[in-house]
């Protein structure tokens, strides 16, 4: 019976005006709308206390929404408890049952799902195989390393072939090197099986690396939804710009609008970029450190205040008349000296105007 295979039964998840309050006045999630397409990996990203874990637990059925509707597939699950939802979850602490062997842990959910004994075993073994833990079935969780425990937790959730698979900060208990590998493994399994995955993290790099789509949350609400690239390149506001990667927020003036392009000026430096619906006047500009070109032909003047060698590149702190900024430069062999006045320009696709003032 080793021909059992794990397949995905992915379903979309929809939140309609969902709120969650704890007690009378703690609002953990405030009226959010969210669509997770089937077969996609969507990350909930945000600082701690922003409501991302509560959102995840509402999908799992561990918290009940105070208002609104939650749909998985076309079924309204708003009031269904966790047991009756076709969802499984990988916990931050893994929550492996310490009194059961690895195989018993992985079979646990199957025994409540109407499988025969033989099939339960075959599926559990297939699940362990999938995460690369063949032969570990009789071990106790306490006899595994952190990374192996994590994979058992994943296998345990996978074998149920859930409509939605949830991850609650799955990498936070692993060391840095393992993190990169495990997140690639999770992404590979998700894509191979075509699973719908909702993934909570507070690490923006992790989110950028694994996601089809990222939901940035702030203060119990959604700040922005988009693909990793669109969030990085076109953040809607200062919060998102700062949270996803680093960004320099510079003051500028919009001189003129031409169609959907705007011409801006900083000191005497002019640059043309998408207007994003703004009118002429003062505005704010977000520029990634790597998109600042030091020593450009055209640009504004700044002084090198600090220069740090970090191996693969140089990092500079630049002082201009309107404030300081952070820039990186690939040339490590002939760095700019501290105290030098340089001309700083933008690369072509670099800066974006922030719609919100």
């Amino acid at each position: 019976m080793s021909n059992a295979t794990i397949v995905g039964k992915a379903a979309p998840v929809r939140f309609e005006n969902v709120s969650k309050r704890f007690g009378r006045d703690v609002v953990a999630v405030d009226n959010i709308n969210l669509n997770v397409e089937a077969g996609k990996l969507v990350t909930l990203l945000g600082p701690s206390g922003c409501g991302k874990t509560t959102t995840l637990r509402m999908i799992a059925g561990l918290e009940m929404a105070s208002d609104g509707r939650i749909l998985i597939g076309d079924r309204d699950v708003t009031t269904l408890p966790a047991t009756d939802r076709d969802v499984s979850m990988v916990f931050q602490s893994y929550a492996l049952f310490p009194h059961m062997s690895v195989l018993e842990n992985v079979s646990y959910g199957l025994t409540f799902s109407g499988f025969s004994k033989a099939e339960t075993r075959a599926r559990a073994l297939a699940g362990l195989d999938l995460v690369g833990l063949k032969g570990f079935d009789s071990r106790l969780p306490s006899e595994l390393s952190g990374g192996q425990q994590q994979r058992v937790a994943v296998a345990r959730a996978l074998v149920l072939e859930p409509q939605v698979l949830l991850f609650d900060e799955p990498l936070s208990n692993l060391d840095a090197k393992l993190r990169r590998q495990v997140r690639e493994d999770i992404r590979a399994i998700q894509q191979d099986l075509g699973l719908t995955v909702v993934y909570v993290t507070h690490d923006q790099e992790e989110a950028l690396a694994v996601s089809d789509e990222i939901v940035v949350m702030r203060n119990a609400a959604i700040a922005q939804i988009g693909t990793p690239r669109s969030l990085y390149d076109a953040p809607v506001d200062q919060f998102v710009a700062d949270f996803i990667g680093e960004a320099n927020i510079l003051p500028c003036t919009i001189d003129s609008i031409d169609g959907d392009m705007a011409t801006i000026s900083i000191e005497d430096y002019r640059h043309t970029l998408p207007s994003r619906g703004l009118a002429a006047g003062p505005a704010k500009l977000a520029v990634r450190p790597s998109r600042l070109v030091i020593g450009a032909d055209r640009g504004f003047t700044a002084k090198v205040a600090k220069a740090t060698y970090v191996g693969v590149r140089m990092e500079y702190t630049l002082e201009a008349s309107f404030g300081s900024m952070f820039a990186v430069h690939e040339d490590v062999d002939s760095p700019f000296e501290v105290g030098l006045d340089v001309t700083v320009g933008f690369s072509d696709k670099g800066p974006v105007l922030l719609p919100e003032a």
């Binding site: 206390g49 009194h99 959730a157």
Partner: protein, 739 residues
């Protein structure tokens, strides 16, 4: 360099103990003073030449007790070490040699020569009759013995044991010696007593005759007769263990897994066993179900039933012990039930297990060690309980009361008491051992790092209903029983004359104010003040011994640490009656002769309650990060300074808890106490038992009620103090990460 100083000059600890040894030898009375440890009449009564008060040196000078003379040699040796450097191997050798020689000689002469000269025939044969004798050790001997012990440990430390840390080695040595003297030695002595014939020889057949007694192992109850005390105790203890565990779990589930509103009130239940003298429950049951009890009378009037004595025997003891020990099981299980990681249960739910399946397959198995723990605690407590069987037992003999009657009864049979105590000890130690084996085998600790947020699910419905009914009924019963205690203390004569009166309180606690001051005219004052005095003296000592031991166990690693831990926790499994019997047998003859004094009471409390101090210390010390000690050590403090300046201040709550808890336990203890009290040192509990035996229930209950309130006051004070010290600390996770 801070090391250079201590390299060249002798350490202060060494000088201190050398001087202490000489003071003990030259200046302090060598033997115990008859009038008591803390009387100082000897200073003006013939000291230093009178034989009863003379220091060892004066005795030898007068040609007496010449066997003390050889002690001079090991006392001179460390003086040579003063000139040596610490790193010199001879420094360590000298100290070890001196300490070992001196200590060994002290022990040898102590046991070899007693009140009647030589204690052993072969010594008499070898040296002839001694024609002299010696009594129990006193200040001088105590100080000299301590000096030898700590010279020895300093020598061991100088050889590099435990990084050459004098404080740690000395603490380990000290704890080992006092535990050996006050736990293992009496037990060993008691085991020997089981083999002593009436002529004073040793014989296995004596033991066999007493051991295979029908009164101990008889199985008559299977066909209508009476069973032996051993079977009775075992059967009762198993029943009590099971029932208290189930009830404890029921209460724990109500508190942690239900929407019950008055959880705080339920938690107050856990205070009850701490502040209630064990037999008080038995008294209250008599007021309810005894021949003239309220409930009995009520049913007799209603149905015309003849009141029976059903309460006296197994049923009564079972009910009383269940009432008394359920809160203990609750206390254990509440921690365990709360300790099951919520994400485990949430994980089970997301894996499609319903509430009942989650409870059965995940929650309950994870609580298993706690359940075993609660069962064994109930088992041991029931085995060791003395008060309730004494009050309610009737013809139902159990080991603890049989031991008592073997010692104080008309039969006065030390051997039989020792055999019974051995059987009792065997049962409790087996339980203790089983508990450790069982818990040691499987790792139930939640395998996870951080991030254990989440909430416990509610109980499944099918479970919640019986749980609520059980908790409700039993809770109500407990309230009624405690109400009875209060009410019974203000009733003239229970069941006969139910008029309210304060006369029992007046009899016990009346006070007359005269010109010369307050006169404590009440009958109970004597034992009351003795109890307070003894409990107050024992509490700080218990806390010190407990915390030092906890420090060694959590913070230091040394060879034999597991055995050390087992030894110190062992006294927890030794029933009070066994302690009582063994103390009488061990300490009524030299070299340690303290029977009938207050000291023996204090000592028995220290070692009975030491595990409490150890546990409190371990619990709070393991929460202190070890890097705190390490940073202190790297900043130049030694481990004693670290202990005093860093650990102790952070342990304030634990210290307070250990203090109050040992104080309160000393006030409620009965099982060991009843053997050790004397006319001069009568304790409250044994006084009350005496009243009960005279059928003077009113006074007994009034006194018990007073004790309960005194102890409630002590516990309340503790809460207040501990609460206050916590305010100074920052609470780390105020809201918990709910996002």
């Amino acid at each position: 360099m801070r090391n250079t100083a201590s390299e060249t000059s002798a350490s202060p600890a060494l000088i201190f103990w050398i001087i202490a040894g000489w003071v003990g030898y030259l200046a302090l009375p060598w033997y115990g003073i008859e009038d008591g440890f803390f009387t100082f009449e000897w200073l003006i009564d013939g000291y230093p030449l009178d034989g009863d008060y003379a220091p060892a040196a004066f005795l030898i000078g007068q040609g007496d007790k010449l066997w003390l003379a050889p002690l001079v040699l090991p006392m001179l040796l460390p003086l040579l070490a003063l000139r040596l450097k610490k790193s010199d191997p001879n420094y360590a050798r000298l100290l070890i040699l001196s300490g070992a020689l001196g200590f060994a000689w002290l022990i040898a002469q102590g046991f070899g020569i007693g009140i009647r000269g030589f204690n052993f025939e072969w010594l008499k044969a070898l040296f002839g009759d001694l024609g002299d004798r010696q009594f129990g050790m006193g200040y001088g001997a105590l100080l000299v013995a301590s000096a030898f012990l700590f010279l020895f440990t300093q020598g061991i430390a100088a050889r590099g044991a435990i990084n050459g840390d004098v404080f740690v080695v000395s603490a380990i040595g000290g704890v080992i010696v006092i535990v050996t003297v006050f736990v293992f030695f009496p037990i060993a002595k008691m085991l020997l007593a089981a083999f002593i014939t009436e002529e004073g020889g040793y014989s296995a057949s004596v033991f066999a005759a007493k051991f295979f007694d029908d009164r101990l192992w008889g199985l008559g109850c299977l066909w209508g007769g009476r069973c032996g005390a051993a079977w009775n105790s075992l059967f009762l203890a198993i029943l009590v263990g099971i029932i208290t565990t189930v009830l404890g779990l029921v209460f724990a589930l109500v508190v942690t897994r239900s929407g019950f509103r008055y959880k705080r009130a339920l938690r107050a239940l856990t205070v009850l066993p701490i502040i209630t003298p064990p037999f008080v429950i038995g008294l209250a049951l008599i007021l309810l179900f005894g021949l003239s009890g309220t409930v009995t009378q009520f049913f007799a009037d209603l149905f015309g039933m003849q009141p029976t004595r059903w309460l006296y025997g197994m049923p009564g003891v079972l009910i009383a012990q269940t009432l008394a020990f359920t809160p203990i099981a609750f206390l254990v299980l509440i921690g365990v039930v709360e300790g099951v990681s919520p994400s485990m249960e949430e994980a089970a739910q997301t894996l499609r297990a319903n509430r009942w399946q989650t409870f059965r397959t995940v929650s309950l198995p994870l609580m298993r060690p706690g359940l075993a723990n609660a069962f064994l605690l109930g088992f041991i407590e029931s085995m060791a309980d003395f008060g309730n069987p004494l009050v309610l037992g009737g013809n139902f003999d159990v080991l603890s009361t049989e031991i008592f009657f073997a010692i104080v009864g008309a039969q006065y049979d030390q051997g039989r008491a020792a055999v019974l105590a051995m059987v009792l000890l065997f049962f409790t130690l087996s339980a203790f051992y089983a508990q450790r084996m069982w818990l040691g085998k499987k790792s139930y600790t939640t395998v996870s790092g951080k991030g254990d947020a989440g909430v416990h699910p509610l109980m499944p419905k099918g479970l919640a209903v019986p749980v609520f009914i059980g908790a409700g009924v039993w809770g109500l019963f407990t309230v009624v029983v405690y109400g009875m205690i209060l009410y019974g203390s203000v009733v003239e004569l229970w069941g006969v004359n139910n008029t309210l009166t304060l006369k029992h309180y007046v009899t016990a606690f009346s006070v007359r104010i005269e010109d010369s001051g307050i006169r404590w005219t009440g009958a109970a004052w004597d034992s009351f003040w003795t109890t307070i005095y003894i409990a107050a003296a024992a509490a700080p000592l218990t806390a010190i011994v407990g915390l030092v031991t906890a420090y060694l166990l959590t913070r230091q690693t040394f060879a034999g640490k597991n055995a050390f831990e087992f030894g110190t926790m062992l006294s927890f499994a030794i029933p009070g009656t066994v302690i009582g019997v063994s103390y009488i047998l061990a300490f009524n003859v030299p070299p340690i002769e303290i029977t009938g004094t207050g000291i023996i009471l204090i000592v028995s409390f220290i070692f009975r309650n030491m595990p409490v101090g150890v546990r409190a210390g371990i619990a709070s010390m393991s929460q202190l990060d070890k890097s705190l000690d390490e940073s202190s050590l790297t900043l130049g403090a030694n481990s004693w300074q670290t202990f005093r300046k860093i650990i102790l201040p952070l342990l304030r709550p634990a210290i307070l808890a250990a203090l109050v808890y040992s104080f309160v336990r000393a006030m409620t203890a009965i099982s060991a106490v009843i053997f050790l009290v004397s006319a001069e040192y009568d304790m409250a509990t044994s006084y009350i038992i005496g009243r009960v035996e005279n059928n003077d229930y009113g006074l007994a209950i009034a006194y018990s009620t007073t004790l309960i309130f005194v102890m409630l006051g002590a516990v309340g004070l503790l809460q207040l103090l501990v609460g206050r010290t916590r305010i100074g600390r920052r609470t780390q996770f105020t809201a918990g990460e709910k996002a």
